[in-house]
Subunit: 376 residues, 2 copies
Amino acid sequence: MKGQVTFEVTASDGRARAGLLTTPRGTIRTPAFMPVGTAGSVKAMLPENVRATGADILLGNTYHLMLRPGAERIARLGGLHAFMNWPRPILTDSGGFQVMSLAGLRKLDEGGVRFKSHIDGSMHHLSPESSMEIQRLLGSDIVMAFDECTPYPASEPTARASMELSMRWAERSRAAFGDRPGHALFGIQQGSVYPELREESARALRGIGFDGYAVGGLAVGEGQEKMFEVLDYAPDMLPADRPRYLMGVGKPDDIVGAVRRGIDMMDCVLPTRSGRTGQAFTRRGVVNLRNARHRDDPRPLDEDCTCPACTGYGRAYLHHVVRAGEPIAMILLSWHNLQYYQELMAGLREAVGAGRVEDFAAAFHAARAQGDLPPL
Amino acid sequence: MKGQVTFEVTASDGRARAGLLTTPRGTIRTPAFMPVGTAGSVKAMLPENVRATGADILLGNTYHLMLRPGAERIARLGGLHAFMNWPRPILTDSGGFQVMSLAGLRKLDEGGVRFKSHIDGSMHHLSPESSMEIQRLLGSDIVMAFDECTPYPASEPTARASMELSMRWAERSRAAFGDRPGHALFGIQQGSVYPELREESARALRGIGFDGYAVGGLAVGEGQEKMFEVLDYAPDMLPADRPRYLMGVGKPDDIVGAVRRGIDMMDCVLPTRSGRTGQAFTRRGVVNLRNARHRDDPRPLDEDCTCPACTGYGRAYLHHVVRAGEPIAMILLSWHNLQYYQELMAGLREAVGAGRVEDFAAAFHAARAQGDLPPL
């Protein structure tokens, strides 16, 4: 893999930024939304169609892939890009978040986490070193440091201990990652809702030095208001010349708020997960297609959207296939939702370039305030 | 709808025929395989992708559509073609077969069949007259007469009584269908495995006069050998200048055998249903991708196939997504199977045109006899 990973901020508007994150596998336009391809597939989508919605990069989950089909197997098969037919950049998480969310057996100590597979009950261990090795085997372009995502709420002493552990793991991640031209390693800031802990964490990460920085420990149940409170200060503690990644976010209004607060990258399962349950995101808010009010409605989900769900079908059809459990329902709605998210990101990038992010945000909220389409 | 439905036999080779069945919505190249879109969707496929595999016509199920979303609703929404975004020809069955397969309450008499919806338990009635009306509301291009599919095995007296009922219903179907330019009505031959009953049925249908004729009562558990025995004589009893449709068939070797015996049209859920359970049809036979032998195999399912499953992925990936229950598994395998079926039909049409159907069939069986790919 030739070339380096570089990041250029091409425009800014208030705290919002637009930029280009370039990797040997392609350039990511920021602010970027990364669809999640948990187990080697963005659920219910072909990768060429994910690309067609405007995605520059996907996220893969280390936890799922290490258990099935296994990182060594993926490496033997030519790496995750070839395996899943996505030649463009892939970011992988460290596996830590999923492992620590496991309801069953898991044991955390200074070395790492021992846990039981949800698939077959087999025992596994993740550490900064093994997470780096697994992400290397997968062929990830952007590797995440192994950390502990501090649960919410956490007292200040608990949050401090957790953050300090993550910083020791960040140092071990950096050492284990080594020198891999063309691949980037991102550090993850922790510190819960405590500004002084966020600053200590940022200082530790800056001292180690990463190619990008994530704001971690958010979108874990604290709610949008508290999340925005942290984003009011936390991203600014991270180097301005590096991409800032908010993990696991979010709803469309979370995204607009995060971009206004200086975030460059996000990921979330919401567009695809909602698509599988009959929920569609539109400029006028969320539409639940399972609702009986759609059953005779010939109008498209969104008359201005160019996705296959909106150009080929009426709401009545979408309602029918959701109710009937037809696979086309999840295909069409996942596609629509991903396209909505990517168009939102394109709008935000354009607004930053034009210096009118606040106008964009105001129009975004005004359209949603109108509510869904009036009754027929 | 302007124009008429016409059928032209363009070539024949032995009993096999190739032809063009033209409707105002498009021309169907025969022998034709019709993918099944039971409830307004060919499962796990977008209609434009079904078309891309080479399909000229889809089949819709009257039973499913009348119960949900309802024929009147589909009519109000502009008909089934607009509803499901398939502008080309659609054939609908009469609903009879599904209704009579219902395990729960159903009561058949001279008038028709009373039955209970499998969706909500509501009571419904189907008769030659109501089936014609429902198929008219759906906007079907090729309407099937309402009949009783004689169960197998049936004694000669039972088969005779059932066939005679179907012939009375055929007459009522013809009368209820009326004169609908641009739409075709097909009659259905019954008579089980009894040549004299098949001949009586054919004579009755010819007397009524239809735009096409189906060989009914096959593919209901009698096995390929018995089915071919009936196909050795039954299609020839039907008018040679009209299309002959074998309902619910079948596996690839059933199709080759049926075409050799003079069949022009077929339909089956097998390519999509098998695709949803990890089974793939290939020139070298059926491949069960769930099998562990594929888990490290980088080779494509079929190196000569141009479908997305074969051009984008190895068997190891397909094995992984089948095992993981990822929706992409059913998307890719349904697509592959439909494309395999359509390429089989294209090969048969070409072979009939070139007068080498027997060579085609011999090569077809020889490729399958080789078995699946050798171990790595």
